[in-house]
């Protein structure tokens, strides 16, 4: 970084020196000191604006989070539509805390749609974070009125990929009881006892690992996934090849799916709040880039004199 320090720009040089001088107790950079006041208040002002935007209703149609291209939603819904009557669906819940807010709306909508269609849902997790989130969602489903005999908690399986491979032949813990656990045991006790698997991704053990470790062993099992945007590029080829039958891989697709779904249990994320945050982000980047451009122009040979 230091070799890029410009010559002939005292402000930037002083900031670079300051940033290299003391790690914790250095003084604020000169540019910040000169603008003392607003930088301190700006985060609070933004926070207040975001809070107001979240509370305000979405201004449709000028603002819309839903993807107008319904290809992903149609594919996802078509995959769920092929399930038999009274289906047994395995929900592999391995989201992570950081990205779950992005997919929680789509996940809750999908779970509500499955529950409304009469599906029995069995939850399993291979990551501790996923387990914590799955427990919270199970609780939510029970409180929303889904009968307890249509929900099965298969708990947390340690061993990450090894645990997943083990589940192919044995997924029901010995302590599990009830009609649903008995139904899975009667059909072999492994993942192939299920009619489909809904993978809620985000952690290391996401849809890709499921395709590598489970789809290769049980190719007839339909896999659908809900994943944060960051995972979509790696999942796109599996969707194109048909190994993944449905994917909601962006916030736009998730909101479009939940919007179509009359049973969506949540309010969709606030488009106004997102727009505000994004505009602030773009503004800060443009301002910083403008400063850099101005510094570059002022250091041109003709302007140095």
């Amino acid at each position: 970084m230091t070799e890029a320090t410009p010559e002939g720009d005292p402000q930037i040089e002083s900031e670079v020196k300051e940033s290299e001088a003391g790690p914790m107790r250095r003084r604020a950079p000169a540019s910040l000191r000169s603008r003392a006041g607003w930088p301190v208040l700006a985060p609070f002002a933004l926070l207040a604006l975001l809070a107001v935007a979240v509370v305000l209703p979405n201004l449709a149609p000028p603002l819309s989070l839903a993807n107008p291209d319904r290809t992903a939603v149609t594919g996802f819904r078509a995959a769920l539509g092929t399930l038999p009557d009274d289906p047994l669906v395995l929900v592999a819940f391995d989201a992570d805390f950081g990205t779950y807010p992005e997919i929680s709306y789509a996940t809750r909508s999908a779970l509500a749609e499955l529950a409304d269609s009469g599906a029995s849902l069995a939850f399993v997790s291979y990551s501790p974070e996923g387990r914590a989130l799955a427990a919270a969602e199970l609780d939510r489903l029970q409180r929303s009125g889904v009968p307890a005999d249509r929900l099965l908690d298969l708990g947390y399986r340690s061993g990450v990929e090894a645990g997943l491979v083990q589940s192919v032949t044995s997924i029901v813990p010995e302590a599990a009881s009830g009609p649903l656990a008995g139904r899975v045991r009667a059909q072999g006790g492994g993942i192939d006892a299920f009619d489909a698997a809904l993978i809620v991704g985000g952690s290391d053990l996401g849809p890709r690992i499921w395709i590598e470790q489970v789809a290769t062993r049980i190719p007839q099992l339909p896999l659908v996934a809900i994943a944060p945007t960051v995972l979509r590029p790696e999942l796109e080829p599996y969707l194109a090849s048909g190994q993944l039958e449905g994917l909601l891989g962006t916030l736009r697709d998730g909101v479009a799916y939940g919007g179509d779904n009359g049973t969506a249990p949540d309010r969709p994320p606030s488009a106004l709040a997102m727009l505000l945050g994004m505009l602030v982000g773009i503004g800060v980047l443009v301002e910083a880039a403008g400063g850099r451009l101005a510094a570059a122009l002022s250091s041109l040979p003709g302007r140095r004199r």
Binding site: S64, V160, L285, A288
Partner: protein, 206 residues
Amino acid sequence: MRRSLPTALVVVVGLLLLLDFVVVNPSLAALAGTLLEYIVLIAAAAAITGALALGLRQVGLLRHGGEARSGPLLVLGGMAVMLIAGFYPGSSGATDPAVRWLVAALLMPLVAALFGLLFFFLLGAAQRGLRLRSRETTVMLLAACAALVLLLPLGGIVGAWLAGASSWALAVPIGGVFRGLLIGIAIATAISAARILLAVDGASDD
């Protein structure tokens, strides 16, 4: 010589699991199942050891750590609260209402808030990065700016165009880079595994 035993173990276990994957044989499947159970047990033991090590480290920091004691106190307090909620007499473990409440009402909002703050930290870092005039930072931030513009939640024709463009960007340029990375990682992993299997790695012969 000291490293030849672990290498031999890795080779034998790897080959057995690979054979089980391609050959249908009940005895082999049973053997592979036992090996998988060992791997799962080792992973569980590693997780417990990690938690214990974290706890001990925080206790050490608390005993010798001068001013900065709030961090270790919070970590130990958080661990204690979770353990008590999961292990008190009559508790149903991870499904206990107390644990569920702690996760849903405390942990999830806290982590979501932390990740929300990441946006502001990234903006601050971007500003400073641009002032330092690194060319790579400039390119990265221009790409971030373009991505932000594409993700603007607008409706109407402009919104439809932006949504289409962001889908294209995810599927084509970003997807291409991701796939390249994944293929590179897979090749490197395969080469590394082959080196271990064929004992090409000089260190394994020590």
